[in-house]
Amino acid sequence: MLDLLDPVATPYNALQNQINGLLEDFLAEPAAWATGPEFRRYPAVNIWEDGDAAHLEAELPGVKMEDVELLIAGNQLKLGVQRQVSAPENTAWHRQERLAGSFARSFTLPWELDADKVEAKLKDGILTVTLPKAESAKPRKIKLLAS
């Protein structure tokens, strides 16, 4: 229904344009080997919306809340994750499939977010973030005056 009020359908397409690799400021450089195209899309996310809010879910097994950074500005969301995969001393690696290092991804959502009401939860390796729409972005009913 919101499509009727929103004259430009492209905000939904804009989400597909993800700005990756904004790794300056708060995150260290990724590991030297982490430069292939697949590393720009870690962590994989699912984002859905239910009218009042957008919900982001990412699978981050073994990551603690203090290793996750979430920045909100307007309709932009930046998710940073520091993932450590450590081996004790005197161990040899046979296989490493789990990605480790610093990662960051940015998303542009179709509407402004209310940064004060954002909630994030990390349980059993799943990060769930609730991103409520800013009040100004919600459709407002216009009262018609009878003449």
Binding site: Y12, L15, Q16, E38, R41, Y42, A44, V45, N46, I47, W48, E49, D50, A54, E59, L60, P61, G62, V63, K64, V85, A87, P88, N90, T91, A92, W93, H94, R95, Q96, E97, R98, L99, F107, L109, P110, D124, G125, I126
Partner: protein, 133 residues
Amino acid sequence: MITKSLEKQPIVGESPERLNNDTWYAPSADILENNDGYTMVFDMPGVQPGDTDITFDDGVLTVEAKVARAADSDAARNYLVREYGIGHFRRSFTIRAPINSDAIKGELRNGELTIHIPKAEAAKTKKITVHGN
């Protein structure tokens, strides 16, 4: 269009199996070795310790876990971005090295499953002391 998470697609060319309407993924694994045994660490987000089923039979270690939230992954949601699917986990490994299969231990924390597989005593490196006259 659903693109699979890279973390759940460790073996090139493998796609999730679909059996009886359930989707199964192979979890990513790290395998380490030290003198005492092998350690395998799997990514299993959303899995509780009670949902795992680890068996060692005839030299093959099978790690399986049912994911409770797989049931509502097909919920009618208005997705803006969908990069990974949600399904159960299963992966098998053949272990040819001599191990002590009775002492295999598993630990699941924060969606990460760690399995310790001790080596058989005879297989551990032993230091040999040389006596002089």
